[in-house]
Structure formats: structure tokens, C-alpha cells
């Protein structure tokens, strides 16, 4: 099968996950031409990563995943071992830039042109040593023994009378992950924000190499703790595609229950924190109380407050009995009533709305240009939700039967991102009730025997946005390469744009309204 009239042959990935087509480009020019065609067809760059295939086929490989109306397309391109260079895609999809830089830092395959500054390498390892190359294996496990010499970074300077810089981080003032923000300001107005991330880089992708499938699941659940269910499911889905396994229907229902519970928990926390950042302590207390009730029921029913390690390749590790499902339905009704009342208070609170409205605005054109997904994209009016039907796309089970209604808002500001969260809580509560009542009878886990040389891609609509995991198995059925991709890769640059017309004191509020993952994108 072909797409957009480009000469690349694709095969549809087997299995019950979301629709994914896999293909190979014959040359860098073919990849570039395909990217141009995908962009013209309103596609987005969903992920980009590299792999060292020299042992199997004597080359390096770069993988690009494009999201479009009907699903996802992965295009891989082989690169010669001696001179692994591929075309810069950042002129077509700006989101490619940081992914290309990270790929160069980790695998040592580079783009011809584009931003050549290091991204994840801050000086902890030499510029000519690449952790994800096979021959880097021994060194990496020995703690490497490289001198850790933090390097300077070439921030883009902003000139002009009265312009000055405010550096913030890597350690921030709140209870939050580390990253560096360089504001260029005049007075309190932000002219430009440039992020330098990578502080959370802890070598996750290297740790996957050589692990068995179960160990991989545990690690995938810790790529970004707030999205543990989304990652565990995306990983399981990729492994199931690679190994030809189909999780039983009840397991899919339970996974969806966990994913929606994760979504509600995070949205409750974010709405509380948004109130707090706008000096409405009442909102913080109320939403944090609801979130705590929610997590306590998780602990009771799933044995863990964040439901970590409950989704595994083949299904789930636990089943829920009728009383547990009843408790979920009852809690949904109680929380639904409270969220409705709190939503009214937020809507009518003049001080809060004054801070929310028009603050940190981006529009749908920018969201599309930056390949944005998730809450932030839907808050600009884009209808983009892997759980929901759209023209030419049927969501995978169990979503297809549930008729998920994606929440959207066209304002693109903090108020819109709050409104989308309110609407998504309401929808998730409905989904949870339907899932709990209609959970099909079956076993909850089947064997997923490792398929040597297997290869798969999993896509899950996490609470923040689209979570992708690419998995490739080696000749012994162990993990050869796993790339977990967080929606924050695409959303961080959107935050740089969102803050541009606003003032420095509004940054914490705008940042919170995106609530992006550092760990998920730094890996």
C-alpha cells in the first residue's frame, strides 16, 4: 500500500492496536519527499529515533513516525555505517529538531544541516561516544568513568535596548522536575523563551537493551511516572504487535479503566494546581482532596496508588470483582457531582478567569505546525484523540464501542486548557462507568511469547497526549531497541511560543496549564 502518491511500499501492522503502517525509504531524498507529502496532507511528526543495526545488517537506521487522519505511518531509512547522515526534517516539521539532536547524541547519526547543538549530552560523556551503539555497551554498564564536565550552551541571544536575560533552573522553585529556561525580557514582557532540557536524562533507552519483555514493562512504566499506565499500555501494545499476541477483551477493558483513572487523577491535580497558581487556594484544597480520594481507591482496588506494573504484555496482572467495579461507579458519581460544582465556581470566579483568559494563547495553525497532540492541541480546537472516531479512522478496541467524545475549545489559552480538562474529566467518568458496567467476561492475560526479530509500534492517548512506544526484538527474543516517545517533545516548543506575548509572572500559570513531562522527553 502507498500513501500520498509517494513511492514507498507500506504494510499494515498486524494485531488489534491502533492502525499503523510500516515502510522503508530507499534514500534520504525519498524520506524527505515523503515528509513533505505528509506535511501537505495535514500530517504531523509523531516521533523520530535511530537504531544501530550494524550487527544485523551492517547499517544504522533512522525511524520517523508520521501521524495523519487514518493512523500512523512509520518510515525507516538505512544509513551507511561509515557516514550515517540523513536529511534535516526540521524545515518541514519543526518538532524534528530536538529529536534529531537527541538521536545524534545517543546513536551518532546526524542530519545534514539543521541545529547541530547537543541536546541530551551536557558534557557527561565525550562527543564521539554514543551510548546506544552496540560497541558502547561495556563502557555504559561500568558507569562509563567519563569525567562529568558540564558544558556551556549557546542560547540564542536577544539584543536591543533594555533587553536582558533571566536564567531559571535547572532546579526550579517548586516541587517540579529540573530543566533550564532562559527568558529574554524587556521589563516584565517576555520576548523569547528558550528551553534547555535533558537534565532528567538517565539512560532509559540504553537500559532497555538486552532486557526480557517483563523487565521492559517495568521500565516502560517508569519513563514518566504520571503516565505510567499510558506507557505500560503503549509498550504492551507494541510488544503484542511484535509477537503476534492478542490481549483478551476483559484485559482491554481493565487497561482502559486504568488509563481513564490515570487521566482523571492528573486532571484533578492540574485543575487544583491551576487554581493555586492563580492564588485560589480554595481550588487547590478541593481538587487535591478529590485527587487523594481517587488515589486511595486506586490503592484499595489495584494495590498501588498509580496502578504501576498492572499492565503487562498479554494483558493485565489483576482482575476486578463486582464489588470493586461497583465502588468505581459510585466514586465516579460522587466525583462527578463535586467537579460540576467546582467547575461552576471556577467559571464564575472573576479573579481566576482574569488570570486564565487570553493568557498563554496559541492557535490551531501553530499547534498543527508543531505537531502538537493532547490537551494542549485540543484546547486550540484540533480534534485529535486516538480514542475517538474521526473521518477515515476507527479507534482500536475497547474504544470503538464506547463512542469517545473528544473535548475541544478554540481559545488556545490557559482558560481553554482548563476547560478541556474539566470536559475530559466528565467524559472519562462516563467512560469509567460504562467500562465498569460492561466489562466483558474472559481471562485477563495470555502468553506473549517473544518473537525473535519482531518489531512493533504502540500508540495510546495518554492524559497529556499521544504516547508512542517503538519496540524491536533481537534474535533471542530480547529487547534490542525500545523508543518511548512522550507528547512533551512536541509540546515543549509550543510552550516557548505560548509565553511570548505574556509577562514573566504569568509563566508559572502557563507552564502549569501545559504541565509537561521532563522525564518523559529527556529519557
Amino acid at each position: 500500500m502507498r500513501f500520498f502518491g509517494e513511492p514507498i511500499e507500506f504494510e499494515k501492522q498486524a494485531g488489534i492496536g491502533g492502525p499503523v503502517w510500516l515502510g522503508r525509504a530507499e534514500s534520504g531524498e525519498a524520506l524527505q519527499a515523503f515528509a513533505v507529502a505528509a506535511h501537505r496532507a495535514d500530517g504531523r511528526l509523531a516521533a523520530l529515533w535511530g537504531s544501530d543495526e550494524r550487527r544485523r545488517s551492517g547499517c544504522f537506521r533512522v525511524h520517523c513516525v508520521f501521524g495523519f487522519m487514518a493512523g500512523h505511518i512509520r518510515v525507516s531509512l538505512d544509513l551507511p555505517a561509515e557516514h550515517p547522515v540523513y536529511p534535516d526534517l526540521s524545515g518541514i516539521f519543526p518538532a524534528a529538531s530536538r529529536m534529531q539532536r537527541a538521536t545524534r547524541d545517543l546513536v551518532g547519526i546526524a542530519t545534514a544541516g539543521g541545529d547541530q547543538r547537543p541536546w541530551l549530552r551536557h558534557g557527561a560523556w565525550p562527543a564521539d561516544w554514543y551510548p546506544l551503539r552496540h560497541d558502547a555497551a561495556q563502557l555504559a554498564n561500568a558507569g562509563a568513568g567519563f569525567p562529568n564536565a558540564p558544558s556551556d550552551y549557546d542560547f540564542v541571544p536577544v539584543g536591543g535596548e533594555g533587553a536582558h536575560e533571566i536564567p531559571v533552573g535547572p532546579i526550579h522553585a517548586g516541587i517540579i522536575e529540573p530543566g533550564h529556561f532562559r527568558f529574554s525580557v524587556i521589563g516584565e514582557r517576555v520576548l523569547r523563551l528558550e528551553q534547555r532540557l535533558g537534565y532528567q536524562h538517565k539512560g532509559v533507552e540504553k537500559l532497555f537493551v538486552g532486557r526480557n519483555l517483563a523487565e521492559g514493562a517495568r521500565l516502560a512504566g517508569r519513563v514518566s511516572g504520571d503516565s505510567t499506565c499510558a506507557y505500560a499500555w503503549a509498550y504492551a501494545s507494541a510488544v503484542e504487535a511484535a509477537c503476534g499476541a492478542s490481549p483478551p477483551p476483559r484485559a482491554l477493558g481493565l487497561r482502559a479503566l486504568m488509563l481513564e483513572r490515570e487521566r482523571v487523577a492528573n486532571h484533578l491535580g492540574d485543575l487544583g494546581a491551576l487554581g493555586n497558581d492563580a492564588a485560589l487556594a480554595f481550588g487547590f484544597s478541593q481538587f487535591m482532596r478529590l485527587k487523594e480520594d481517587w488515589l486511595r481507591l486506586n490503592a484499595k482496588l489495584f494495590g498501588q496508588r498509580f496502578m504501576m506494573d498492572r499492565i503487562v504484555p498479554g494483558g493485565t496482572t489483576l482482575d476486578l470483582e463486582a464489588p470493586a467495579l461497583r465502588a468505581i461507579v459510585e466514586q465516579c458519581e460522587a466525583v462527578g457531582r463535586e467537579v460540576k460544582a467546582l467547575g461552576k465556581i471556577y467559571d464564575e470566579h472573576a479573579g481566576l478567569q482574569d488570570r486564565f483568559l487570553t493568557t498563554g494563547a496559541i492557535d490551531a495553525d501553530l499547534a498543527r505546525e508543531l505537531s502538537l497532540t493532547g490537551v494542549a492541541a485540543r484546547a486550540t480546537g484540533l480534534i485529535l484523540d486516538a480514542r475517538a472516531h474521526r473521518q477515515g479512522y476507527t479507534p482500536p478496541p475497547p474504544w470503538a464501542m464506547l463512542g469517545v467524545r473528544p473535548a475541544t475549545d478554540e481559545r488556545g489559552d490557559v482558560a481553554a486548557r482548563a476547560a478541556v480538562r474539566f470536559a475530559e474529566i466528565v467524559e472519562s467518568l462516563r467512560l469509567l462507568r460504562e467500562l465498569a458496567v460492561g466489562l466483558p467476561d474472559s481471562e485477563v492475560c495470555v502468553e506473549a511469547p517473544p518473537q525473535p526479530g519482531g518489531d512493533g509500534l504502540g500508540v495510546i492517548e495518554g492524559w497529556r497526549g499521544e504516547v508512542l512506544v517503538g519496540v524491536a526484538l533481537d534474535g533471542e527474543g530480547r529487547l534490542a531497541r525500545v523508543h518511548p516517545h512522550d507528547p512533551s517533545w512536541q509540546a515543549w516548543p509550543a510552550l516557548e511560543h505560548a509565553v511570548m506575548r505574556d509577562i514573566v509572572p504569568d509563566f508559572p500559570l502557563i507552564n502549569k496549564s501545559f504541565n509537561l513531562s521532563y522525564s518523559g522527553a529527556d529519557l
Binding site: W125, K202, G203, V204, G225, M288, F306
Partner: protein, 165 residues
Amino acid sequence: MLRRILRTGIVSEPPPEAGAEAREVARLNREILRILGRALTIRQVDAGSCNGCELEIHALNNPYTNLEGYGIKFVASPRHADMLLVTGPVTKNMEHALKVAYDCTPDPKLVVAVGDCGCTGGVFGESYASCGAVENVIPVDVRVPGCPPTPVALLAGILAAVRRD
């Protein structure tokens, strides 16, 4: 809004080790006030976590745990802090910043390592990108294991660090 505040009432719960040890906790609170001059201030440093631990540290500020009710408060600068609450593993990219934060915290200071990763390196261990446990980078007084540790375990760990002092 006022009606809702009244209807919700006070949901704060007794601190951990309630019941037989409630008196001990009350004594500890007096102790905290005596030693640290009316308050304990904490600077939280995420040195490389998956952000799971941060979710539970946030929960310390919810009305159930109500940390500020004990006179314990999170502050924005290590210069204002009595205690560093550090999650890990410590990435190589955060090693320098963590050392600087430690040096900026005035003596006497306490360090609590949070989570399996903060205590041992956890699933991430030591590698080209990770220094592993917090104690590999700065001295640690108390360890709170768990993946992630519950808010009750965190509170108990914070109180245990003060008790040692």
C-alpha cells in the same frame, strides 16, 4: 464557595503512627519547634526522578496530610531550607546542580533521599547517564524507599530525620 468550604469541613488526618504513638508525634512536633525555631523548611530537589515521587510529595500538601499544619513548609531556595528532600536517581546532568544546592543549604542541614531510586538508584541504577543513589553525590541522613513512597511514608521519613538531629 463558602458553603462548599463549610460542607467539606476539616478533612486533615492525624499524622502517621497515630494511636499509641500519637503522644510521641506530639512530642516530636514540640521538638521540631524547639530545634528549628517554629518551623521546618524543606527544599525539594528532583535530581532525575520519573516524577512519580513528586506526585506523592505534592500529596503532602493536600488537606488530608496538611503538612503546613505541622509547621513544615516547602521553600523556593535551598538558602531558606533546613532540609533537602531529594528524589533520584541523580542523573549525571543534575550531579553538579545537586552539589551546588547542597552547598547553598545552611548548616546544620538534613538530607532525606526519597524513593527506591533516591535510595539505591532503583530501576535506573548507575550508568553513563546516572550516578545512582543520592548518597553517591551528597551525604544522606534518612532514606525513604518505595516506588513511589506513600505520603505517610514520606511524612514518617521527614519526622525521622528531625528526630535524629
